[in-house]
Amino acid sequence: MTEINPEKIELDQEMESRNLDKSAIPVLEKIKKQGRSWKELSNQYGVENPDPPWKITLEATCDVLSEVSCALPGIERRWEEDELCDQHYADVPFPERQLLALAHSLIRRGLIDEEDLAKHMQEVSKRLNMV
């Protein structure tokens, strides 16, 4: 007999009621297609660190969104990550797909705006590539 976790039933209902829009987001689709993963870059440059330097800060972002602001609870983010990766980012390596799924969740929840993100990425890119 399989026991059904009551926590799961409760979350199922909550996630269902949210009915988050899971359609593709153009700015993220572009990164998915054009972005170079850490695996690719580290192989090319002979770097041995298995994780990109931004992995820790990504984890910290996920944690503060859940633990400090409660804007995106950890379990909901992980469920959305599973679903979004399944639908859109299955072929993207980890942790790049975790990052895409986080951005996707934040946009679809209205916590950040897609246009703002595209604009801010241009600014960040300009800044990081200044020298």
Binding site: N5, I75, R78, M121, V124
Partner: protein, 231 residues
């Protein structure tokens, strides 16, 4: 002279993903979802995490039956002896991420083998074991381990005899688990430091067992799940 001091290789380009990570973080700060100080505090905390404290806990328990008893009775209290304070060390200062503060140490015996999963998402005892590996987060591992644990363990290279019970422990928001494997033969007279070295992350999850001379995790394949994700 210059050749002797060659800098370590580095990635000499900025990737779209690096830009995205920073842009998301800065926008979240700009929107007031959290502060830069909060983020810095969590980042610093993340940098302190790794599997060494859990490995030391097991090594100490192998050497000290009283400590082993404490580990089994109260994992949080036992963690203090390896430098992990589940309550006060966290940036929140009142507990750990997702409010969990219950560590259970599952001791293997000759007739019982434990293995850890999180069927709901990827709950993991990060304060004492660091970040979870990619395969641990996959729906494939999470779905299959609870149904066919022996088969999955065999894929990890671990053949469990039929007369040994395999017990899968399912993590949740409140409770996290580590496995205390049995001390292997050939380690008689070893020091705590020597023993700590062979208790790898995979041994602590339960998908491997410690062996003298083996101090690193094997590369693990990440398998996709064929069935679509649904709740």
């Amino acid at each position: 002279m210059a050749d002797k001091h060659k800098p370590a290789p580095m990635v000499d380009e900025v990737s779209e993903f690096e830009i995205l990570e920073l842009a998301v973080r800065e926008l979240a700060i700009e929107k007031g979802l959290f502060t830069a100080e909060d983020h810095q505090a969590w980042t610093e905390y993340m940098h302190t995490l790794g599997p060494l404290p859990a490995a030391r806990l097991v090594a100490k328990a192998w050497l000290d039956p009283e400590y082993k008893k404490l580990c089994i009775e109260d994992g949080v209290k036992a963690s203090l002896e390896v430098g992990i304070d589940w309550i006060n060390q966290m940036p929140t200062k009142f507990g750990t991420p997702s409010d969990y503060c219950n560590l259970r140490v599952m001791a293997d015996t000759p007739k019982l083998k434990h293995v850890v999963v999180c069927t709901l998402c990827s709950c993991y005892p990060r304060p004492i074991l660091g970040q979870s590996p990619e395969w641990y987060r996959t729906p494939n591992y999470r779905r299959r381990l609870v149904r066919w644990p022996r088969q999955v363990l065999t894929e990890f290279g671990l053949q469990i005899p039929e007369d040994v019970e395999v017990r899968v422990v399912d993590s949740n928001q409140k409770t996290r688990y580590i496995v205390m494997p049995e001390r292997p033969e050939g380690t008689e007279g070893w020091t705590e430091d020597q023993l700590t070295e062979i208790v790898t992350r995979d041994c602590l999850i339960g998908v491997a067992v410690p062996k003298p001379g083996k101090t690193a995790n094997d590369p693990r394949p990440v398998r996709k799940a064929l069935k679509p994700y649904s709740h």
